[in-house]
C-alpha cells in the first residue's frame, strides 16, 4: 500500500491501495504534536495502513487514515 499526499497522481498511475499522508514533505510525520503524541499518532496511521493491506480492491482506491 502507498502513503502519499498526492492520491490523485497515485490513482492516475495505477497504484491500487492508496492512503493520504499528512504532508508531502513528511507523509507520516506530525511535528506539531509532542514527540510522544506524534509516535501515537503515527502508530494509528500505520495501523490503518495495515487494515488497507488486508482490504480487497478492484481498482485504484483511496482509503481514509
Amino acid at each position: 500500500m502507498l502513503i502519499t499526499c498526492l492520491p490523485n497522481v497515485a490513482t492516475q498511475v495505477g497504484a491500487y491501495r492508496i492512503m493520504s499522508g499528512n504532508k508531502f514533505h513528511y507523509p507520516v510525520g506530525n511535528p506539531e504534536l509532542s514527540p510522544q503524541d506524534e509516535v501515537n499518532w503515527r502508530a494509528q496511521v500505520l495501523s490503518a495502513a495495515l487494515k488497507v493491506l488486508q482490504t480487497p480492491v478492484e481498482a485504484p482506491t483511496v482509503f481514509d487514515q
Binding site: M1, L2, I3, T4, C5, L6, A10, Q12, V13, G14, Y16, R17, G21, K23, F24, H25, Y26, P27, V28, G29, N30, P31, P35, E38, V39, R42, A43, V45, L46, S47, A49, L50, L53, Q54, T55, P56, V57, E58
Partner: protein, 349 residues
C-alpha cells in the same frame, strides 16, 4: 520519387580513419559507403541520392562552418529526407549526426533520421522529432540497421503515420528530453484557453504528456496478517548520514536497502534524506516521519503483524523517468518477494 541526402563521417565515406578526421565538409552527388546499400533498398522510390561527408574532428572544431555549408547544400539539393549515420557507439560521429539531423529538421522541417547505440553521447543532442533508430554498439549491425533505415525511409516518404508510430515504438530510441519551443501565445493565455475549452466541454490538448501506466495485476489482500512479514519502502531518498552509496538527490537511477534490524526508531543525525523535490528538514529532524520504524515496531510488538523486514528500501522519486522507476520498483519487489515479505508500506513524498 524523392531526394535523399545522407551525412557520413570520413571513415564510413571510405576516405580514411583517424588520420583523416580533419576532412573538410564535402558534397558528393552519389551514395557512398552504407548509402550504396540504402540506395539499392530504396531504388524504386528515390531519383536522387547525394552524400555529405565531414571528418569527425573537423565537425567539432568548425561546427558553425560545417552547418553553414550543410545549409547551402540543403537549399540547393532540397532533400525530402535527411539521413545521418548510423554512428553506433562512436561518440564524435554520433554527436555530429545528432546535430546535423536536428539542424536540418528544425530549420527546414525535412524528416531527419539517424541511428545510435543507446549510450552514444549523441542521444543528448537529439532535437525534437528527429527519429533515432536504435543500433548495436558496433558496425557489425550495419546490414540490419540499414535495412531499418530503408523501412523507415519508405514510411516517411509515404507519410504513413500509422506505420511510423508502430516503427517508432519498436525500433526507435525514446529520447527522454524536454525541448524549448516557441509557442504562439504566452503560457497564461494557453492555459486559460485550455481551461475555457474544458469548461465548455470542447476539445483541448494538454502540453504535458499524460503518463500512460501499463496496467499491472492487483496485489491480493493479505489473508493472515498475524503471520505476515512487512517491509518499508520509500521514494523519499532516506539514506544513512553521509549518503555512503551516493544515491542521487533527483532523477534517481538506483535503489538501496539499509538495515533497521534491532532499531526501535530512526534517530536524527544517523539518517538523512537525499531529495531535491521537498524540504527535507522535518524528515531529517526525525526520519521516522518518512520510514516509520518506531510505529511499526510498536505494532509488531503488539502482535498486529508477525515481523518487520530487516531492511528498508529507498530510491529518489523526484524528476525521475517513469520507465526507470518501473524498473527499480520491479527490482525492489523481486528482492522483497524472494525474502518472503508479504506486504509493503511505501511512503511517497
Amino acid at each position: 520519387m524523392a531526394k535523399v541526402l545522407h551525412y557520413l563521417n570520413q571513415f564510413f565515406a571510405g576516405i580514411g580513419g583517424e588520420d583523416k578526421a580533419g576532412q573538410e565538409f564535402l558534397f558528393l552527388p552519389k551514395p557512398v559507403g552504407p548509402g550504396v546499400l540504402l540506395r539499392d533498398l530504396l531504388k524504386d522510390r528515390q531519383k536522387e541520392y547525394a552524400t555529405v561527408v565531414c571528418g569527425d574532428n573537423y565537425f567539432h572544431e568548425n561546427e558553425e562552418t560545417v552547418l553553414a555549408s550543410l545549409a547551402e547544400v540543403i537549399v540547393q539539393f532540397q532533400p525530402d529526407l535527411f539521413i545521418a549515420g548510423p554512428a553506433f557507439h562512436a561518440g564524435r560521429y554520433g554527436i555530429a549526426c545528432a546535430k546535423a539531423a536536428s539542424f536540418v529538421h528544425e530549420r527546414w522541417d525535412v524528416p531527419a533520421v539517424t541511428g545510435l547505440f543507446e549510450e552514444n553521447p549523441g542521444t543528448r543532442e537529439i532535437g525534437r522529432h528527429v527519429l533515432v533508430i536504435q543500433t548495436g554498439s558496433s558496425a557489425a549491425s550495419m546490414q540490419s540497421t540499414i535495412k531499418r533505415f530503408a523501412d523507415l525511409a519508405v514510411l516517411l516518404l509515404n507519410n504513413n503515420q500509422e506505420g511510423l508510430e508502430a516503427f517508432k515504438e519498436e525500433f526507435c530510441l525514446k529520447i527522454p528530453r524536454r525541448f524549448t519551443v516557441q509557442a504562439a501565445a504566452p503560457d497564461s493565455v494557453r492555459a486559460l484557453d485550455m481551461l475555457l475549452a474544458k469548461l465548455r466541454g470542447g476539445a483541448f490538448e494538454s502540453e504535458i504528456p499524460r503518463i500512460q501506466a501499463a496496467p499491472h495485476p492487483i496485489p491480493a489482500a493479505l489473508q493472515d496478517i498475524s503471520r505476515a512479514t512487512l517491509a518499508l519502502v520509500t521514494e523519499g531518498g532516506l539514506v544513512p548520514m553521509g549518503n555512503p552509496d551516493r544515491l542521487e538527490s533527483s532523477r534517481g537511477t538506483k535503489y538501496f536497502k539499509y538495515s533497521i534490524e534491532k532499531r526501535d526508531d530512526l534517530k536524527s543525525g544517523e539518517f538523512e534524506a537525499m531529495h531535491t523535490g521537498y524540504d527535507t528538514s522535518t524528515v531529517n529532524a526525525d526520519p521516522d516521519r518518512l520510514i516509520p520504524v518506531d510505529a511499526m515496531r510498536r505494532l509488531e510488538r503488539e502482535g498486529n503483524f508477525a515481523r518487520l523486514h530487516n531492511y528498508y528500501y529507498v530510491t529518489t522519486g523526484t524528476g525521475a523517468m517513469p520507465a526507470k522507476m518501473q524498473e527499480l520498483g520491479g527490482g525492489i519487489a523481486q528482492e522483497l518477494s524472494a525474502c518472503g515479505v508479504n506486504g509493503v508500506v511505501l511512503t511517497a513524498t
